[in-house]
């Protein structure tokens, strides 16, 4: 009986995961707007950050935009087609530690952000595809899709920004480290970083922090976080996310490890 449980896992109904697109209802022609792909997992389960840590798998989030030129009621579309300009941007992760392994990921509702641009006057059709590894003490792989359409306004009208459904999700992205009140220096082959308190603090590397990468993390007498690390030979896009505070006041900050190049 036990054996059939373990091996039949893939055949059991998977825990329900929801995928939804949260987008502004309208966009101005030529405008760009953030769009959130929201993945909701059941309590007790988690999915993974772009660096999942010592096990797991990054959540793979894709968004495609297509312009429905056929419905462009006589307005001459501008050159170009709607496009996904940037993404996904991952929200600030949390840390999981179990069975001696450290992982980075998300519980509950997680929003992955893209910027969508609409060069023409046609509505923008969005197709999202997400694949994930969902884990608690066991793991289940899964995937899902979602679709949405954004209307493109006549250029003369300003969009209604009184209720932006995407704003709460944008707020979950780590802010630029420059806004943290912290300092960063790169000298003598060393990266030195401070972040004023109060803590608690945590840090999340977007690529594995190993070997020569291993940072020395201490607190100063005034409660600031101090991080020192040999300057990593970081691949393009490598970032460090630092968090300060706990609960609702927890805020993430992201530092690009490759800019400026030493």
């Amino acid at each position: 009986m036990l054996l059939s449980c373990a091996l039949a896992l893939a055949a059991d109904p998977p825990p329900p995961v929801k995928v939804a697109i949260v987008a502004p209802a309208e966009i101005v022609p030529g405008g760009t707007a953030p769009v959130a792909i929201v993945v909701s997992v059941p309590p007790g389960w988690h999915i993974y950050w772009e660096n999942p840590g010592q096990s797991g798998l990054p959540t793979d989030v894709r968004l495609q935009a297509q312009g429905d030129l056929a419905s462009a009621k006589g307005d001459r579309p501008r050159p170009g087609t709607p496009s996904v300009a940037a993404g996904p941007r991952f929200p600030t992760p949390i840390r999981f530690a179990a069975d001696g392994l450290v992982n980075y990921g998300y519980e509950g509702d997680t929003a992955f952000l893209f910027d969508v641009s609409a060069p023409g006057n046609a509505p923008v059709t969005l197709d999202a595809a997400v694949s994930w590894l969902l884990c608690r003490d066991i793991c289940v792989a899964g995937s899902g899709v979602a679709h949405a359409t954004i209307a493109v306004l006549a250029a003369a009208r300003a969009p209604d920004r009184s209720s932006d459904p995407v704003a709460p999700y944008v707020a979950r992205l780590p802010a630029a480290f420059a806004t943290s009140g912290g300092t960063v220096t790169r000298a003598d082959g060393t990266l030195r970083l401070t972040l004023p308190g109060p803590g608690p603090f945590d840090l999340f590397p977007s690529i594995p922090l190993e070997g020569a990468w291993a940072p020395v993390v201490t607190t100063a007498a005034d409660g600031s976080l101090l991080v020192e690390s040999p300057l990593p030979a970081a691949p393009d896009g490598a970032r460090l996310v630092l968090t300060r505070g706990a609960g609702a006041s927890r805020q993430g900050y992201v530092l690009d490890l490759t800019e400026p190049r030493p």
Partner: protein, 197 residues
């Protein structure tokens, strides 16, 4: 330095000491474990032969994919045919996914595994290698040196980033040709090894 982390980090981060990887280029940790028939299998008995050590949990979707339809479907058999020893180790603790003689016997029957499947329910061998995931793969050269530690390939659940590369096959080929292993470490992917707490 780890101790300095303690006062400032969230409690959950400190609950356990992370598993850390065995060093490639150093002697592979020896072990003696029992296979599913109760026979003891000792790594050092295979000195003079290249040995592949595969971490295994039959309930993990990565293992289910790799053995059911992916690269491990026939890789062990083909590799053993070239004179290499392949040892599959399961470090699931009692009560955790993938633990138990019957569970593993069922997996062996389902997937036609012909190499030894070794039970490490205390997790001691897994931790001595720093096995973090299933499948986490290791290659030991004929001198007993650990020459590869990491992922099976660059294609978790069959999805490759770019051209597919089987790191274990490449390492075995390098050893057979008397070359240094070109890619001696990679980041393993998969489910966490179900160690006891």
């Amino acid at each position: 330095m780890i101790a300095l982390l303690a006062p400032i980090f969230v409690a959950s981060a400190l609950a356990e000491t992370p598993v850390t990887a065995a060093a490639v280029g150093t002697p592979a940790p020896d072990f003696a474990l029992r296979d599913l028939s109760g026979k003891e299998v000792k790594l050092s008995a295979y000195k003079g032969t290249t040995v592949v050590v595969e971490w295994f949990n039959p309930g993990c979707p990565f293992v289910v994919y790799a053995h059911g339809e992916g690269p491990l479907k026939d890789m062990a058999k083909k590799t053993v045919d070239t004179g290499v020893v392949w040892l599959t180790v399961n470090s699931s603790a009692p009560g955790k996914q993938g633990h138990g003689l019957e569970t593993n016997q069922q997996a062996v029957a389902t997937w036609g595994i012909t190499n030894p499947v070794l039970l490490d329910e205390s997790g001691a061998v897994g931790k001595s290698y720093g096995a973090t995931t299933t499948p986490n793969m290791f290659v030991v050269d004929p001198k007993g040196t650990l020459v590869y530690a990491g992922a099976l390939d660059n294609a978790p659940l069959g999805k490759a980033e770019g051209a597919p590369v089987n790191y274990v096959k490449a390492a075995i080929d390098d050893v057979a040709a008397g070359r240094p292993v070109a890619t001696p470490t990679t980041k393993p992917y998969g489910c966490g090894v179900k160690y006891g707490s």
